[in-house]
Structures are given as structure tokens and as C-alpha cells.
């Protein structure tokens, strides 16, 4: 599970994240919603331990991400924003690298890579250098490294960004399939996505949580579109994730 308590992040004088707290339990799919620059990516980077919080703490499977970063990350699969990967490697080499980084060796590593290639429908491009692939494949390749070790906790930063409708469908199905026994947090600004796969939605605006509810509950207040705009336009001061 993920626990986040009173996370604050300041970049110089700008308050990117102000006092964010939440808990996510296995079986929950948390949609992290918010306009661009609201602090979604910054929050996720703090939960993964990539950014150190100005104050507050975060735990993955009970491990404090600042004090026990390696243990915490062992239980984590993470798809960073823009799905970075090593472009000079082939898809298979890249996944073999991820498997080795996760401590898999020999036959078990090959089996993991093989299964993940199939699961993410990457088998046909396995021998292509990643830089020669289209955006959708690159996104899925990075997604593949996040689920290769079957982690109990998945954090996905805009997993469907830049994908065509078919590819979005595939990724959403994968998330839904994995949802049963995992903790999944993913950020998006596509509202239909939240309705389609989330059991819970947090709306964040100008670094603060403005709603924490189920998509159905939010729905009662009007269309998700309207609720989103109503909650986020008043407080939004803009900014960027970097």
C-alpha cells in the first residue's frame, strides 16, 4: 500500500505541493487528476523517492521512501512522465536490463522478459531499437519495465498520454486487469479514463487536494467535466512540473 502524509514541496519560493495526504490500499485504482502544473508529477516523484519532499513523508509497503529508498522501490513499478527509455537499446535489451536491475538472473530473467513482452504486445518489435519506434510503442516499453517484476505498487504518470484510441484501450485494459491485488495510482487529465477504470479519484489543484472521492460520487454533482472545472479553475495559479 501507499501512504502519504503531509507532503510539501517548494521549488524556491513556489509552492508546488502543499500538504498532500492520502492512503491507497490494495485493490484500489486511484486516479490522480488535475490541470497541468497542479502538482501531480511532483507528488508522484516524491512518492517514488526521486524528489525529496520539503516536508512530510511517504511510505511504500511500509517502507519510508526517504529512509529506506531501495527497499521501498523494490516493491514499486514506476512509469515516469513521458515514458523515458534508453533509445539505443532494443525493446528486449531494455527489458532484460530492467530485469537485471530487479535482481533476476538467467532463466528466470528471460522468462520475465518473455512474459512481459507478450503481456504488453511488444513481441513483434522486440528486436527494434527503441528510438526507431512510434510513441505508442515507446510508452508501452516503459510501461513494460514497470510491471516486469509484478510489483504490489504501481505508479503511472500519464500512462495513456499521446496514445491513439486503440493503444489507450490496451493500456486501460492492462491496468484494469492488474487492479485486483495491486495498489495503482495513475495521473491523467482525461476524465473519461477516470470513469472507466478508477475506483477512486483525487483532484489536485495548485498543489492541494480539492476532492477525494469515487467517480460515482463526483458524478452526482454534475458531469465530471463540470466538477473538474468548477474545482480547479478558482485555485489554479499555473506552473510547471519541473
Amino acid at each position: 500500500m501507499i501512504k502519504v502524509s503531509n507532503l510539501v514541496k517548494n521549488f524556491g519560493r513556489r509552492e508546488a505541493v502543499r500538504d498532500v495526504s492520502f492512503e491507497v490500499k490494495p485493490g484500489e485504482v486511484l486516479g490522480f487528476l488535475g490541470p497541468n502544473g497542479a502538482g501531480k508529477t511532483t507528488t508522484m516523484r516524491m512518492v517514488t523517492g526521486y524528489l525529496a519532499p520539503t516536508s512530510g513523508r511517504a511510505w511504500i509497503q511500509g517502507f519510508d521512501v526517504t529512509e529506506k529508498p531501495v527497499e521501498a522501490r523494490r516493491h514499486l513499478g514506476y512509469l515516469p512522465e513521458n515514458a523515458p527509455s534508453y533509445g539505443d537499446m532494443t525493446v528486449e535489451e531494455f527489458l532484460a536490463f530492467a530485469a537485471a536491475m530487479r535482481g533476476y538472473r538467467g532463466k528466470e530473467a528471460r522468462q520475465r522478459v518473455h512474459d512481459t513482452l507478450e503481456k504488453c504486445i511488444l513481441t513483434t518489435v522486440r528486436n527494434q531499437p527503441i528510438e526507431t519506434l512510434s510513441k505508442g510503442y515507446r510508452q508501452r516499453t516503459c510501461f513494460a519495465q514497470a510491471i516486469l517484476h509484478d510489483p504490489p505498487v504501481l505508479i503511472l504518470d500519464e500512462p495513456t498520454e499521446g496514445l491513439d484510441p486503440n493503444q489507450k484501450f490496451v493500456v486501460r485494459n492492462m491496468i484494469r486487469e492488474m487492479a485486483k491485488n495491486k495498489v495503482i495510482v495513475f495521473s491523467t487529465h482525461i476524465l473519461e479514463e477516470v470513469e472507466a477504470i478508477c475506483t477512486r479519484a483525487i483532484i489536485i489543484s495548485a498543489g492541494q487536494i480539492v476532492a477525494d472521492s469515487t467517480p460515482a460520487e463526483l458524478r452526482k454533482q454534475g458531469s465530471l467535466d463540470q466538477v473538474f472545472r468548477w474545482l480547479t479553475t478558482s485555485a489554479d495559479v499555473g506552473g510547471s512540473a519541473r
Partner: protein, 245 residues
């Protein structure tokens, strides 16, 4: 402990050979080493069975080529966003630094090893004392490591590879010139001797020169080891600073 270091090392090593960088580096390194040794220093005409004229040029060749190898170490990962991927695997920052540094070092050492025809030539033409050749190679290897560690730091400081290259070359030039006899001779005339010696003590040149002469002093080895350790530690601090900003 060691296995993530190994995994990162292997990935780095392969990335050198996936791009033209490796081949350009090796060819230019060997061409420059050969050109300076045989054409500029007139190795044959000198008629001496030593490799002084060969090792003399190493600091200068490294000065230009090693920052080019080091500049991509961190800057490239930051530019493409893979640093976030790398540092959210279950590894420590120290392991990532070690893996990347060792890969770059082994790569430069491989290029250095390919200069063996120079040694063969010396042995074919005369009977040189093998001692200074062995210590010269050890010194050259350590020197390359020190330049690389400087480059690792400057690469961590910026996501711009050009800036990383220039900073590394300038710092390298300073560390070289601070103990270079033509420079220290001038410094002795304008500054007290103890001050010049302190500055020169920080220099690569004096320590490397000892080794070229066949003297393998623990202090010289320690100097290079601590220079490398210090620069890698500074790389660690720089990468941590990015996290906390």
C-alpha cells in the same frame, strides 16, 4: 551490493559501442598518441629505448578526449529523462555513480591498452627498462580516471553536454598546468616557493611524472585515488541536490 553496479556498467559499456562515440574515440586517441610520439617527439630519431616521449603526451590527449567521453554520463540521462528511471530502480545513487564511472574508465583503459604497438616497437628496436613502462601505464590509467571523475562531476552539474565538456576541460587544464614545469617556473618568480608547491601539489602533472620515471610511490597513487573519490563524492552531492533543490 555489486550486482546493480555490474548491470549498469554493462549497459553503459554497450551504449558506447551502440553509437559512433566509441570508434571515434579509439581511432582519434590512437592517432593522436601515435602522431605526437613519432612525429612531434621524434621517437625514432631520439634513439632512446624509453617511452618518455609517449607518456609525455597523455595528459594533453586526455585533456580533450576524456571530457568528451564523460560529458554524456549524467547530462544525457537528465536530458532524456532516463535519470528518473535509473534512480527509481532499487539502487542507491552511489551504485549508479560507480557503475557509470567504471564503465567509462574501463572504456578509456581499453583504448589505452590498444597502444601496445608502441611498446612492441620499443622492445623491437632496443631493450628498454620495463619498470618505467609498467608504472607509466599505471600512472596513465589513474590520470584518465581522475579526468573522468572531473567530467562526471561537470556532467552532473548540467544537462547541457557542451557546457559539461568545456567545464571539464578547463578544470583539467588547471589541474595540469598547476604543476607543469614551464608554468611553475614562471610562478616561482612571482610567488613564494611554498605557495607554488601547494598549488603544484594539487596538480596531475607532478604525480604522473614520477610514475613515468618508474617511481611507483604510494603517495602518488593515493593522490589520484583521492582525487577520483573526491570528484565522485561531489557528483553524489550534486545529484542529491537536484532531488532536494
Amino acid at each position: 551490493m555489486s550486482s546493480p553496479v555490474c548491470t549498469i556498467l554493462k549497459r553503459e559499456w554497450r551504449s558506447y559501442f551502440n553509437s559512433p562515440v566509441a570508434y571515434v574515440f579509439i581511432v582519434i586517441f590512437l592517432a593522436l598518441a601515435g602522431f605526437f610520439t613519432f612525429n612531434v617527439s621524434r621517437f625514432y630519431e631520439a634513439g632512446q629505448a624509453t617511452l618518455d616521449r609517449f607518456f609525455f603526451w597523455h595528459p594533453w590527449i586526455y585533456l580533450i578526449l576524456v571530457p568528451a567521453v564523460a560529458m554524456r554520463l549524467w547530462a544525457e540521462e537528465r536530458r532524456t529523462g532516463t535519470l528518473e528511471l535509473l534512480l527509481t530502480f532499487p539502487v542507491t545513487t552511489a551504485q549508479a555513480i560507480a557503475g557509470k564511472f567504471l564503465a567509462a574508465w574501463l572504456f578509456v583503459l581499453m583504448a589505452l591498452a590498444l597502444t601496445f604497438p608502441v611498446v612492441a616497437t620499443a622492445f623491437y628496436l632496443g631493450s628498454p627498462d620495463p619498470g618505467p613502462i609498467v608504472t607509466g601505464y599505471i600512472g596513465s590509467a589513474l590520470l584518465a580516471g581522475a579526468y573522468l571523475a572531473v567530467g562526471s562531476l561537470t556532467s552532473a552539474l548540467t544537462r547541457n553536454q557542451v557546457i559539461s565538456f568545456i567545464l571539464a576541460a578547463v578544470i583539467g587544464l588547471f589541474l595540469l598546468l598547476a604543476g607543469f614545469p614551464p608554468v611553475t617556473d614562471v610562478l616561482y618568480q612571482i610567488a613564494p616557493a611554498w605557495a607554488v608547491e601547494i598549488v603544484a601539489g594539487f596538480s596531475f602533472s607532478a604525480h604522473f611524472e614520477q610514475m613515468q620515471r618508474g617511481v611507483l610511490d604510494v603517495r602518488d597513487v593515493l593522490y589520484f585515488a583521492s582525487a577520483i573519490a573526491f570528484m565522485l563524492l561531489a557528483t553524489h552531492v550534486t545529484l542529491d541536490n537536484r532531488r532536494t533543490k
